[in-house]
């Protein structure tokens, strides 16, 4: 039982960090980014490239990869999502994100083939035993990194001027603009930060599990589940949602059967939507809807 809970939490940490960027973008801009999983998987491939090419440890690789994710994400918002929202509607934006994810996945498949890949630094095969509980070193490292990243994001949103501008824009775009906030820049910033976190989570995921280009869909869907469970927009919500989901997954695996894991996860998503669509912590930005 204890082992199951530990496994669940470790897995959940990864889910949290993989969802927090999605949550931010959804919360601030009300845009469902179907290309979210592409950034995750893209991060994993970037880590792979840096690992095989330069032997750069994935944890160190987080810095350039998140920076890259930021730039790409910000540009993506500035030149693609923003114009799409202005031209059409949020649904048009959603379609654009979908269309581009097809393009990128196709590109990744051509470059890397759809072979299963994996980033395996030396510590990928160690584990620590505490009493009866075995903890995979790499999962523990990923978990701690995830916590640090999420805490850093929370701190950024809470204490910096730019963080305050992001939150303000999310709560009322008009009021924020009337305060002199340049909404376009805030949106680009938000998308950049969200994408940086997606790419960063991809690095962690690439460390702990095998991946393929087609996997992106799954990470987008998990992001949905985590965000709806925890609450939109806040790092704390993503953290809570991810951990709960991780626990639910491993508990199901152990006590119901692995094959039912996804059924249970998606049932939770559905139940949550019907009972409390704003998530356990509620929307971080809107008082209610």
């Amino acid at each position: 039982m204890l082992q199951t809970i530990v496994n669940g939490l470790l897995y959940g940490g990864t889910l949290s960090v993989a969802a927090v960027g999605f949550s931010l973008i959804f919360g601030v801009m009300n845009v469902i980014n179907l290309a979210h999983g592409v950034f995750v998987v893209g991060g994993a491939y970037a880590a792979l490239a840096l690992w095989t090419g330069l032997r750069l440890d994935p944890i160190l690789a987080l810095v350039p990869i998140m920076a890259g994710g930021f730039v790409v994400g910000a540009a993506y918002q500035r030149f693609v999502i923003g114009p799409a929202v202005r031209r059409g509607s949020p649904v048009a934006a959603l379609l654009v994100t979908f269309g581009l994810s097809l393009v990128v996945v196709n590109g990744l498949t051509i470059v890397y083939s759809s072979a299963v890949r994996n980033v395996s630094p030396a510590y990928a095969f160690f584990s620590v035993r505490i009493g009866d509980v075995t903890i995979d070193a790499v999962r523990a490292i990923a978990f701690v990194t995830a916590l640090v990243l999420i805490a850093a994001l929370a701190l950024f949103l809470r204490t910096t001027v730019w963080g305050r501008m992001i939150r303000a824009t999310a709560q009322s775009e008009l009021a924020a603009r009337l305060c002199g906030v340049d909404a376009r820049r805030v949106y680009a910033l938000t998308f950049g930060v969200g994408s940086a976190f997606a790419a960063g989570s991809g690095v962690l995921i690439g460390m702990i599990m095998p991946f393929t280009p087609a996997e992106e869909v799954q990470w987008t869907v998990y992001a949905f589940v985590v965000v709806v469970l925890g609450g939109v927009g806040s790092p704390a919500g993503a953290m809570l949602g991810g951990l709960l989901l991780g626990l639910a997954a491993t508990l199901t695996q152990t006590y119901v059967g692995p094959v039912y894991t996804n059924v249970v996860m998606f049932m939770i998503l559905l139940a949550m939507l019907l009972v409390r669509p704003n998530g356990i912590l509620g929307s971080a930005f809107r008082a209610s809807r």
Binding site: Q3, T4, N7, L10, Y11, N106, T109, S113, S114, A115, V116, R117, N118, S120, A124, F125, F126, S127, R129, T134, D136, A137, V138, R139, M209, P210, T212, A214, E215, Q218, A249, T250, Q253, T254, G257, P258, V259, T261, N262
Partner: protein, 414 residues
């Protein structure tokens, strides 16, 4: 088929309906100096099965390229015939796959090669059978393909439920004999019957299955499952899973130091990337290979498996795995049947020749059951084990390249 209108009328109609662009480029080649024989079919170049699709395609292409470029064509009834492969991307989507296949049938393609994965092959099999054109495929093993009475569909694999028998037989042959097994299988159309077949075979051979685990088609974490495995300590963990799940399992087995006497994963170790990803932890993992590049067989086209391998490696960058071998086997089988018939325009006779084929090829023996799938004994897989950085055949005995590492070195001591 009297009800089918002529091609020209079809084109005219298509133009009228504004879909002229859809009329394909698959005109049977007639007015060329060397007659050309076209193999049609679809391949998943994208979507879920894209990677394997590329391997299968490379296998087909290699034989055709060799026959055309090195032998000036295939000798059929005293004439050289150029071989040609015209396959389109079915994107792993069955609806699309049937539509595209129908277009080739309409366009007069007479011989077909297989796509990959049973959900695509099955609907195609129905169409192929109705059109009375043969298909030799290396991609669908589901039992249902071979139990519908389709006379024109041949598979290089034994049907799924029989296909992992050799692995069980290989473990039975070990000394000391492993006693307890945990069987893990993925819940997909191929792995599930294969896994159930393994369980039945194990019990039949008097070995103890202490636990069975059904995994979803994709998994992110198996630590909970491995905790249970550690608690029950089976001698052998047999995983009938996709390469991705296998890699995850192997990694987590290594990380969590789940010490097993043997780890078997049906798919995975065949790929170099799998072995590289695991490094020293890959050592000793066994898998089935329906084909291995080290097979010592003779082949009517290349001369031997080794010559095929050499030729393949000279012309391809894609790592050579068993899918290329199986796919190549399809063309070899066709070539033999065509030569038996002595002409290229009689698909029915070619079908009958395929039904009675029994030859040695680069792939091994090719002989189909009356239902069209591979003979479970003659065409059954070999069992291979990762030793060093390579994959060595360890079973059946007559093909064995190395002694089985048994039991394997505990993961905790690596």
């Amino acid at each position: 088929m009297g009800e089918t209108i002529s091609r020209r009328e079809t084109l005219a109609l298509a133009g009228a309906a504004g879909i002229a662009a859809t009329a394909g480029p698959f005109r049977p080649a007639i007015a060329q100096s060397t007659p050309t024989l076209t193999f049609g079919g679809t391949i998943p170049f994208s979507g879920r099965w894209a990677e394997i699709g590329q391997s299968v395609h490379a296998g087909y292409q290699t034989v055709v390229k060799y026959v055309n470029e090195e032998q000036g064509g295939l000798d059929v009834g005293g004439r050289k015939v150029r071989l040609e492969i015209k396959v389109v991307d079915d994107a792993s989507d069955p609806q699309r796959a049937t539509t595209l296949l129908q277009r080739q049938i309409d366009d007069g393609v007479q011989y077909f090669l297989g796509s990959y994965s049973s959900p695509i092959i099955l609907p195609q099999a129905a169409i192929i059978n109705r059109a009375r054109r043969p298909m030799v495929q290396a991609g669908g093993g589901a039992d249902a393909i071979f139990t519908q009475g389709y006379r024109y569909v041949f598979g290089m694999y034994p049907r799924a439920s029989r296909s992992a028998f050799p692995a069980v037989d290989a473990f039975e042959a070990l000394t000391p004999k492993p006693r307890t097994f945990t069987v893990v299988y993925a819940n997909d159309p191929f792995s599930k019957p294969q896994g159930e077949g393994v369980i039945a075979r194990l019990r039949e051979k008097g070995m103890e299955v202490i636990d069975t685990v059904e995994l979803p088609a994709t998994v992110q974490d198996v630590s909970a499952m491995l905790a249970a495995v550690r608690a029950k300590t089976p001698d052998v963990l047999m995983c009938v899973t996709s390469d991705q799940t296998s890699l995850l399992i192997a990694r987590q087995v290594a990380q969590s130091q789940t010490d097993l006497k043997m780890l078997f994963t049906s798919l995975g170790p065949q790929a170099t990337s799998f072995r590289e990803a695991l490094g020293k932890f890959a050592e000793g993992i066994t898998c089935i290979s329906t084909w291995s590049e080290t097979f010592p067989y003779k082949d009517p086209i290349f001369g031997s498996t080794a010559k095929f391998v050499e030729y393949y490696k000279k012309h391809n960058n894609l790592p050579l795995i068993y899918h290329q071998g199986t796919a190549a086997g399809c063309i070899v089988a066709y070539a033999w049947a065509l030569q038996q018939v002595g002409r290229v325009d009689d698909p029915n006779a070619v079908r009958d020749a395929l039904a009675r084929i029994d030859i040695e090829s680069l792939y091994g023996r090719i002989k189909f059951t009356p239902d069209g799938d591979g003979d479970p004994v003659l065409m059954g897989s070999s069992v291979t084990q990762v030793q060093g950085t390579d994959l060595k055949v360890i079973y059946p005995q007559q093909l064995a390249e190395a002694r089985t590492l048994w039991p394997i070195r505990p993961f905790s001591q690596r």
